[in-house]
């Protein structure tokens, strides 16, 4: 068994958190609260670093406009005073509005344009044809809600269109099932990749059971 204090700390933290798999116990709750405390402290330290580099340094250099986000940030604390709590809506609206703008632009670029561009590449082999057809089929699950077969006085074109969309939507559901299965398999393997180093820590580095 190792005498390295750091390995002991790592092993005890790992064991404490894994003990929850048996059932909730004081050892787990101790490690859980320690982890929460460390996580929060780290976040605050990172936040302080941002304030220092993006606000205080710029203020010191004469960028007086930086006072605005500082004032908005302080307004967040108005939530503690019921009569002035509405003031905290301003910084929250700023955060939400900016986040919406950043997300929309990022999503348009990476989630729509890049994906559509990748889907519209020239078909060079069977696999690329399959990918294209399956993409259209899976999209039809999201964008065409296929209801019951049209009844009454409807034209043959409408019936044919309904059949095409219905068949595409059915194929799309199968594609999505394959996707969910693949994502599931990949995620399990990724988590296994995190679990194995934990076992190595416990059985190799800590108690030297394996080499």
């Amino acid at each position: 068994m190792t005498t390295d204090v750091r390995i002991w700390l790592m092993a005890l933290m790992t064991l404490g958190l894994y003990s929850y798999l048996f059932r909730e116990n004081p050892f787990f709750r101790f490690c859980e609260h320690a982890y929460t405390g460390l996580s929060l402290a780290h976040l605050v330290v990172m936040g302080w670093t941002n304030v220092k580099t993006m606000a205080l340094t710029r203020l010191a250099n004469g960028e007086w406009a930086t006072v605005i986000p500082i004032v908005l940030g302080v307004l967040l604390f108005a939530r503690w005073f019921p009569k002035a709590a509405w003031l905290s809506r301003y910084p929250i609206a700023y955060l939400v509005g900016t986040a919406s703008g950043v997300t929309i632009t990022g999503v348009i670029e990476a989630g729509i344009i890049a994906q559509v561009r990748a889907a519209m590449k020239p078909v060079t082999n069977i696999s690329s044809l399959v990918t294209l057809l399956f993409t259209v089929a899976a999209l039809s699950v999201f964008f065409f809600i296929v209801g019951n077969k049209p009844e009454g006085q409807v034209g043959s074109v409408q019936i044919a269109a309904w059949r095409v969309v219905s068949a595409s939507s059915y194929l799309g559901r199968l594609v999505l099932m394959v996707t969910f299965g693949a994502v599931f398999g990949s995620t399990v393997m990724a988590r296994l990749g995190l679990f194995i180093p934990r076992l190595e820590l416990l059985f190799r580095d800590w108690i030297h059971l394996i080499r």
């Binding site: 993006m54 940030g73 348009i108």
Partner: protein, 207 residues
């Protein structure tokens, strides 16, 4: 002022960021960059508010000897010294990095790896073949997992090839469709927020 002001702020900030994306104007881009940078400063204050709330909550629990107050002590014992080290000596200091590598990193990896056990439990429930869809889900999941481990190759060298074909072809198509569909949803929700139609973020800031 209580409602219209925040909606106007949300509209202006969101509009500046979006407009600067579509119009290639250097001046507008500079304003947009400033707006986005200020967001990080305000977010840091939000973190400080959250941290102070946690300290108040745990402090009250210890003061009143509330339920499981001992764990509140544990929280503060780990939170306050680590925060002090980070603020005084910086996040690159040896002491900060020692705690980071000895406690935070293993705890973080352990928490993530624990989901493996819950996923195994989910496999037991989800992989019962009740219909064609569930069968496809099970078959694909098993093929992808077998394709990534040595035993898959030992059973048949075709398994890893089939697994990578599934991931590159069918999975790509499905993920692409989900991404496009989800992105359109995100854009519509974001526009609702910017236009002031979605106001749930203002529900807890007084009347």
């Amino acid at each position: 002022m209580k409602k219209e002001g925040p909606i106007l702020i949300g509209f202006l900030t969101g509009s500046i960021v979006i407009t600067s994306y579509f119009l290639k104007s250097t001046g507008l881009k500079s304003i947009s960059d400033t707006v986005v940078r200020w967001r990080l400063i305000i977010a840091a204050f939000a973190l400080a508010l959250g941290a102070l709330n946690m300290v108040r909550l745990h402090g009250k629990n210890i003061h009143h000897k509330g339920r499981n107050w001992q764990y509140s002590v544990v929280f503060l014992v780990f939170f306050l010294p680590y925060l002090a080290i980070g603020l005084i000596r910086g996040s690159n200091s040896a002491q900060y990095q020692y705690v980071w590598k000895s406690l935070y990193q293993p705890a973080s990896a352990t928490m993530y790896s624990m989901t493996l056990f819950y996923m195994t439990n989910a496999v037991w429930r989800a992989f019962r073949i009740r219909n064609l869809h569930a069968g496809i889900l099970m078959f694909t999941g098993a093929a992808v997992m077998l394709g990534q481990i040595g035993i898959g190759t030992a059973i048949s060298p075709l398994i890893p090839r089939f697994s990578s074909w599934l991931l590159d072809t069918v999975n790509t198509a499905g993920i692409r469709a989900i991404t496009i569909g989800g992105s359109l949803g995100i854009v519509s929700l974001g526009l609702r927020v910017i236009l002031g139609l979605e106001r749930s973020y203002m529900s807890d800031g007084g009347n």
